[in-house]
Symmetry: C2
Subunit: 383 residues, 2 copies
């Protein structure tokens, strides 16, 4: 019995829609979690994040432990108070950023030592220290076990050894976490692209027992087809009654396809990062507001989206702001993108509830394909 | 009789408080106009600007004529629609930025040719073209005559020749502007630091007849004492019944002292620019949120200011955001600074209405001096 009840309200094929109940509020699933790396969702106010329909945001242990430090966040009242986000927060374990950002990593069974990418200072993350940072110091509602991220591609023997260590780290994380009244802990399935390893990982984690099960090691260059294959042979080994979280994913089409394979939760920097680079997302894919054709375009990004950034500013203005290097460009596009992602999740939940998710997917795939074709055509015309 | 009625509601010494009535809304004076250079007040949403109490913003002719171009803004419905700011807009003539930003300027009696600082393209500004851009294309509520900005310091003969040309340009601006139903035109007093030249400039402008009178050529390095001297011998030559606008000023202390000398309107990039550099303004001067002492400070910038940016975030959070290079740092500090400047103007207006402006000034000077002393002490301790 988990501390956070998960009510699955509707299923449609493998897709599920439900509510994960936490003391800081309900999380409607399938859920997209905006990423608030350094205690801020980049270029957005927290009330804007909330108004898009986001129920939960993600914080990065790696960034926060280095600056302002987890101890300081604790002294300042915890991550919710510090960041002013009052809803649930999920923190990652720090493992992924150590793998992708830090220098001079040294991995042992005990944990990982690394140098900060900010000032070169030395730090250590162990399963126990990661739990201390996430649950005790930052005060995360949902903590993640520390795991090892393997490269892609990765030989099977290496993937097995890594997955097995991640399992042992899962047990240590659980032991360190213990039982808590109002905080949850998720395990992470590893095993690269190998069905047998993913199965063993999932079963190992179930034996330990977690409040939710994440699927890690994807969206690292394997491509969407392979990602879907991995979901197809991994999800069946996860308990139906607990949330499933696909880490670091992804594009709208990835979300749509992953939900069809039984995923309940996502996080990704894409909407905010691409917003800072002049991209606005829609069912047709990304649109570059800097394109010359928008210089005189009086239409908004999306008049039907209930978000001022999507609705109340002309593409000509977005084009001008981006070219002028104005803060407001990133502010508006990041806001629109988060609103679009959250609206997409709401439409996904609705269609699952209506038992219509298959049609939703077909329709979405068709629009996405149209967008891809138009982008290819434009790219060909430009060459 | 001007198209924009100006009701002076209270005077206290030379200080005045009133309302300049425009079809797009009342401008309460003394007024501070946030600068919206490129059709955006940097890092703020327009509804935030409005909520601080700003009645009018400024747009820059130089920037807008280069990008997105004045003709494009016109095609897109004018600057109000383009920027989404629905209140009054004052545009400058472009002269100051040509002088300070552009390359290869060539000034003649006819006007000035220059190269864009963005792409090196060639452009011309004449008094007639500046009015066309401001009033016809951008649709400014208040247009400024084109003037020549002289360097500081400047020999008297040069200052006289320049002032006389600015007067002739004032006449040409007035002729080009003609009479309009719902738009106003301000002249600009020049003459550097020379009393006789300032008097001649003011009298020349009054003969032409404008809806308001700006004081140009200040805040260019002459220092606050000299600036106050120039105001002391210039303002008496301006008509009492029309608004007086001190261009490009300034620090809070400059505003307080200039109001005491009869100035009604101000604009300055200071609150937004310094917000992007980690500074938060108060009656005690600028505060650098990056200072080490704020790293654990749970106090907000100013709990008494009715602005979320001032009130709802700890200095520790501001410190963290600035050091992390987060967009939200500039967003919050720019917002706070505009809120502080607008609140200062509201307090100034109140004290004039109460006939208490002399005491307000004394109190403000004392706080400002305390702030200066503390900054000097800190600076000495650091050396």
């Amino acid at each position: 019995m988990s501390v956070f009840p998960y009510e699955i309200k509707a299923t449609d094929g493998e897709a599920r829609s439900g509510v994960l109940k936490t003391p800081r509020g309900d999380i409607r699933t399938p859920a997209f979690m905006p990423v608030g790396t350094a205690a801020t969702v980049k270029a957005l106010y927290m009330d804007q994040v909330k108004s898009t329909g986001a129920d939960i945001i993600l914080g990065n242990t790696y960034h926060l432990m280095l600056r302002p430090t987890a101890e300081r966040v604790k002294r300042l009242g915890g991550l919710h108070k510090f960041s002013t986000w009052q809803g649930p927060i999920l923190t990652d374990s720090g493992g992924f950023q150590v793998w992708s950002l830090s220098k001079l990593r040294k991995m042992t069974e005990h944990g990982v030592t690394f140098q900060s990418h900010i000032d070169g200072s030395k730090h250590e993350l162990t399963p126990e220290r990661s739990i201390e940072i996430q649950a005790d110091l930052l005060g995360a509602d949902i903590s993640m076990q520390l795991d090892e991220c393997t490269n892609f591609p990765c030989p099977e023997a290496e993937a097995r050894a890594s997955m097995e260590m991640s399992l042992r780290w899962g047990q240590r994380s659980k032991d360190a976490f213990g039982t808590r009244d109002s905080q949850a802990l998720f395990g992470i399935v590893q095993g690269s692209v190998f069905p047998e390893l993913r199965r063993a990982s999932a079963e190992g984690l179930r034996k330990i027992g977690f409040d939710g099960y994440a699927i890690g090691g994807l969206a690292v260059g394997e491509g969407i087809e392979t990602m879907c294959d991995v979901l197809d042979f991994t999800v069946p080994h996860l308990p139906t009654e607990r949330p499933r979280y696909l880490m670091g994913v992804g594009k709208p089409i990835d979300l749509v396809r992953s939900v069809a394979r039984g995923v309940d939760m996502f996080d990704c920097v894409l909407p905010t990062r691409s917003g800072r680079h002049g991209q606005a997302w829609s069912d047709y894919g990304p649109l570059n507001v800097k394109r010359a054709e928008f210089i005189d375009d009086e239409n908004p990004i999306n008049a039907d989206l209930d978000c001022p950034a999507s609705r109340d500013y002309s593409l000509a203005y977005h084009n001008h702001l981006f070219k002028s290097g104005e803060y407001l460009s990133a502010m508006l596009l990041s806001w629109h993108n988060i609103a679009y992602f959250e609206d997409l999740m709401a439409r996904i939940r609705d269609s699952i509830t209506r038992g219509d998710y298959n049609n939703f997917c077909k329709d979405f795939e068709s629009k996405w394909e149209q967008g891809e074709a138009a982008r290819l055509e434009r790219s060909a015309a430009a060459n």
